[in-house]
Symmetry: C2
């Protein structure tokens, strides 16, 4: 696609979303912007840790740990062993290499840089061509109300291993957060040809992004098609607590629940071939693809499917209330 100037925005959380982001990045390079959830961010051992931003950076840089999906490839664990020896907290695993990104981020944030600026610096150093944008420079902290009380996200996710049953999920600080100028520019770019919600956990990873005031509006205001890839395949989550949380929230664990969750934000939902039978009954148009991403080729193939879908949607008559590039240009 030499000379193609079309740009795309992906919304992503951690491991699952980063897989599709990698596929998109291989096809798009610097024409891809990934808006990443920072609701999982927290302060630990005096460090500001941005797990989803790091997973995205590491994945796009090709230095992610292929076994875990989080952390770095060829990691060593001397620091963690010494922390244990000194009686420090060890429930959040920090590898020796991985530690550098937290220390460097914390140092730069304390020096007054924004998280967006720090992330751009880290991406450049890691050789990531795509733009990786934290969903906000203001802190938003996902809190999980469970049967045993309210837990900060990492207390729920890493320390408690998602065991407590979820009653409700809050995004503390979201009401006063703002999308950054970089995000506003990406979502209002005349070159924007598609907005792709990656198959991350809708409640834990995508909703915090959509909770930033103005984000949902900017997505709706875009002339580009908006699509999502279902994180539910054949009634199961590929990985992580998505299915468990859906059940605890009283939702059926199926693609229909995902479609209803995003509702009219979407122009289409990409569902796996395993869910073909239910696709026609969805409240949004469905697009069938192989969505299980195991190899890099799988990721690129699904990314290619998403880009083609955006292209077809842009060429089709818009749904009511939606502008299309043709109208904008008219």
């Amino acid at each position: 696609m030499t000379g193609d100037s079309r740009t795309y925005v992906a919304l992503s959380g951690g491991i699952g979303g980063a897989k599709l982001a990698l596929g998109l990045a291989r096809l798009l390079g610097e024409r891809l912007t990934v808006i990443v959830n920072t609701g999982d961010d927290f302060e630990h051992l005096g460090l500001t840790i941005s797990p989803d931003v790091d997973t995205t950076l590491y994945t796009l840089a090709g230095v992610a740990n292929p076994e875990t999906g989080w952390g770095r490839r060829d990691e060593t664990w001397s620091f963690m062993k010494a922390v244990a020896e000194l009686g420090g907290p060890t429930w959040f695993k920090l590898g020796d290499r991985d530690l550098a990104i937290h220390v460097e981020r914390t140092r730069r944030l304390r020096a007054g840089e924004t998280l967006t600026s720090v992330t751009a610096h880290l991406a450049a150093r890691l050789g990531v061509a795509a733009r990786v944008l934290p969903m906000s420079d203001e802190p938003v902290r996902t809190a999980v109300e469970t049967e045993t009380g309210t837990l900060a996200f990492q207390d729920y996710f890493a320390r408690e291993q998602c065991r407590p049953a979820v009653r409700r999920i809050r995004y503390d600080g979201a009401e006063t957060a703002r999308p950054t100028v970089q995000i506003e520019a990406a979502l209002s770019a005349p070159t924007l040809a598609g907005i792709i919600i990656c198959p991350s956990n809708p409640w834990l990873s995508v909703d915090p992004i959509l909770a930033v005031p103005g984000m949902r509006e900017a997505i709706r205001a875009s002339s580009a098609p908006v699509i999502a890839v279902s994180p539910i395949i054949g009634g199961k989550a590929v990985k992580g607590p998505t299915a468990k949380i859906m059940a605890e929230l009283g939702l059926a664990v199926d693609v229909a629940s995902i479609a209803r969750h995003y509702g009219d934000l979407l122009d289409a939902l990409v569902v796996d071939a395993a869910d073909r039978a239910t696709a026609d009954a969805l409240p949004v148009p469905a697009s069938i693809a192989d969505t299980l991403m195991q190899t890099t080729d799988d990721k690129i193939a699904l990314a290619r499917h998403c880009l083609s879908l955006c292209e077809r949607l842009a060429a089709a008559p818009p749904k009511p209330g939606k502008r299309r590039p043709a109208e904008t240009q008219a």
Copy 2:
């Protein structure tokens, strides 16, 4: 020495001093208190680093790096490589294991603990029986006035590798610092049988300790003998910039300069057999020993020499103005 309740206080900086502290610790265990220089402490990468405290802890715990004298044995360097990759500062070497002590110290200091309390915790976790006391809980920062301007200690020592010629050494913050109650208790203990100034750099490592208001007075007020071990052997420093600094300050690089530097604070100066010829001409009584500490046995032998010397000095008539335990008991 079963049932021996005599206690000793050592004053020490980093590598050189820690060698004698190790010898003393082997003989005394928990009857040894080491007051350690914190003038080298600094903030780096958001961490509060106490190089001399750590060298002392690691040495006494038997986990020090035997090649360098600083840092930890069996160290790995993944963090530092990743910091370099991310464009962070790499002039101060932080090993993966070593990093844990800085992170844990910083975390506890931020939570409101004193440096003394944090150090006691770390010592306990590392299995150090001797008491290791930072010279103050208030920050004192050694600054080196050089021909090219004033440098913070680590900028002079680690970053500039002691290259600039020293004009004067300052101990910023010393005027408002205080010895801790733990130090006051150690120096006024009725069991105190000797105060030993380790062969650390007198200007860079011992003077910051003595610059803490009340420290010199508490040492003078003690009834116990005060001795120092010369860091100069045969006109040379064993390691580090002591000889270079002495020359730059216009001092002869010999044991007489060391004796004059400590002056009447001392009851005796331990000098190496290599300096026997000049020992009689010193302004303080000299005691000849093998002071070059290469093996653990060397360290223990020199420690034993120091303890015997204290014992002999305590039994001898005191110098004018000095109290002795016998008088106290009379």
